[in-house]
């Protein structure tokens, strides 16, 4: 091995880095999203939203005169890759904070890295265990599954439909929902009469639904992300089941209505407010953020912004606010994030504290019903 060559390379590389440091260096923010793979429905809008909002911030002159730079990597929904890329962001790209990953499994895998390297992590995934117990360096913007489940159960309790069948997808999203559905049932006086699952790539759920039809369920709750729930809705219709069908916030986008077609009518689901933002009263504190997000997303991507993208939007805005308070090192950013109070984002109104790194209250979700291929808020 020729050591001279290696020395030369090392010298050249270090020169490159130091040259960078002399210029008015942008603040580097890392992002890990599952842009491809089974969780692409989360990762793609998240990446788009994060890029969009960083662009908008830089166009407006950056934060305190410094530009923000976003380094995005695609994890493909794989926990191993997520950990590798988190290390890459921290060691090679030297980011001050990380946004993402998109799924709970990946986030749980990345947490030890963030904690050890002391880099703030703002996860965009929903699992309650991410911030419970509280970890010093880990925050999240996605609403807890527990809140979505609570919203459905409240409604069921009110309408006295207490026998429910649950049908969840066997991936991280479904497993987390299933756990919450089971844990919270007793609190709302709800009995789970059957508990079934389906595979993320399954194309026919009539077997599970036939079984459910044989129980005395007064409501069916399906917990999954497209396209599974659309198949479930179609199968429910095929089997002539009249029991009311509830879905998770995992399908709260127009895509679900498009896929399920006629079968989507009458389906109820908890959703972030972004879906119904134009129906909200002007007094609603989140309305300004929501309208801005939807408008920007439409402008940049000619598509409907959904609340998954909103998680990334919130994360970037939270970071921006922290940086605006003068924080530009990981430690300072973390401390500032923890002081966030009443930030009105897409997912809800965030207030972090040393005891709470999830920061959202129950009002983050509204229950909507699909009527005439559109959303109606259920009172």
């Amino acid at each position: 091995m020729n050591f001279k060559v290696i020395h030369f390379i090392i010298a050249a590389v270090s020169l490159l880095f130091s040259a960078n440091a002399f210029a008015a260096a942008p603040i580097k923010i890392g992002a890990l999203f599952a842009v491809t793979g089974p969780a692409a429905f989360l990762g793609e809008p998240e990446r788009n939203s994060a890029k969009m909002v960083i662009d908008e911030i830089n166009k407006a002159g950056g934060v305190k005169g410094r530009k923000l730079e976003l380094v995005v990597y695609d994890t493909a929904g794989d926990a191993t890759k997520a950990v590798q890329l988190a290390t890459k962001l921290i060691k090679d790209d030297k980011v001050v904070a990380i946004i993402g990953p998109s799924t709970t499994g990946e986030t749980m895998a990345v947490i030890p890295v963030a904690e050890k390297e002391q880099i703030p992590l703002i996860s965009c995934s929903a699992g309650s265990k991410i911030t419970d117990p509280v970890k010093k360096w880990v925050f999240k913007t996605a609403q807890n599954d527990a809140l979505a489940v609570g919203r459905i159960y409240e409604f069921l309790q009110k309408t006295k439909q207490t026998n429910v069948s649950i049908l969840t997808v066997s991936d991280g999203f479904g497993a987390s929902g299933r756990e919450q559905l089971k844990n919270q049932a007793a609190k709302y006086g709800i009995t789970i009469v059957s508990d079934d699952t389906y595979g993320p790539k399954d194309t026919d759920m009539t077997a599970q639904l036939t079984k459910i039809r044989g129980t005395h369920a007064q409501a069916i709750i399906c917990w999954g992300t497209n396209p599974g729930p659309a198949v479930v809705a179609k199968n429910v219709r095929q089997l002539g089941i009249k029991t009311p069908l509830f879905m998770s916030h995992g399908v709260s986008s127009k895509k679900f209505i498009e896929l399920a077609g006629e079968a989507a009518e009458g389906v109820r689901l908890p959703s972030g407010k972004v879906l119904v933002c134009d129906l909200l009263p002007n007094s609603e504190s989140q309305k300004k953020s929501l309208m801005l997000f939807v408008k920007d997303y439409q402008k940049h991507y000619k598509a409907e912004g959904d609340h998954f993208g909103g998680h990334a939007w919130d994360a970037v805005m939270l970071l921006r606010n922290a940086i605006e308070q003068g924080a530009d090192t990981p430690v300072a950013i973390r401390d500032q994030l923890e002081k966030t109070k009443n930030f009105c984002g897409i997912g809800g109104t965030f207030t972090y504290s040393p005891q709470d790194h999830a920061g959202l209250g129950k009002d983050a979700f509204v229950l909507v019903e699909i009527k005439n291929k559109d959303w109606v808020v259920v009172k």
């Binding site: 929904g77 926990a79 499994g105």
Partner: protein, 318 residues
Amino acid sequence: MKKDLLLFTGFSTLVMLAPQLFSGGYLMNVLVFVGINTMLAIALNLLLGYAGQISLGHAGFFGLGAYLSGILTTTYSLNPWVAMPTAAIVVGFLAGIIGFPILKLKGHYLAMATLGLGIIIFIVFNETVELTGGPSGLSGIPNLKLAGISFDSDVKNYYLIWGFTLAVMLFSLNLSNSRIGRALRAVHDSEVAAQVLGVNARLLKVQIFALSAVISSLAGSLYAHTMTFVSPASFGFNFSIELLTMVVIGGLGSIYGSFLGAALLTLLPEFLRGANDYDIIIYGGLLMVMVMYMPGGLVRGIPALFRKIVVKGKAGNA
């Protein structure tokens, strides 16, 4: 023999010096995974390249090792150094039992049966939520510790993993040059002929299947203790296929080939990262081109390519 020893010594020296060349950084982390994948590729190569038996379910054994280690050290607070061999013994035992009926099958029936086995194991990881944490995974697995050193950084893990990988390589090199290795090759060429010559082909196949499973399980345990987190998604059908690809791209029946294949397929996504969504296309295309132009794998293809260039170069000079 001497040449083999020299090659191995050279290779291990290079491996041990590598951290000095690429001090720290993210590359270290990738090289840790190259080590783990090399171990897995060798395990599969022993079965496929030496004994001629295909397996489309090796990710299952890898996952079993990882999960057994993970569960024993978290739920039952066992010492990782005890959990690792325990996992390996359990997996080897299971593979031995299932090996008898499965290895009776041939050709695509064997492919299908091992594929089914892998899928069944994957489903068990997903469904036994109380034990494995289900699809959300199992976290909080402790790092390995040795003489006061906790293997919790990439550089430390590098030495740990590569220590094991080199041991597995040395063992496999010896195996292929031993009586068993020759018997295996005989089974590969013609099972009936080998049997006529007094080789108990059936037992030998089961033994190598179990051995291959044990090495995979060991790699799985090491993976669990370096990642400190496992989830079912890492052990699916796709990973079994990726392992198969590593072995074939590297070169069937060659231990160093397995290293080359594992290194290429682990490093490739890193280089393709800049290509964004196009990476999957380049990846697929490269696989095809490799098989087309280096049908014997990298280990035979690179020297051939080298000779071609040198010969052409000389011809040009003359």
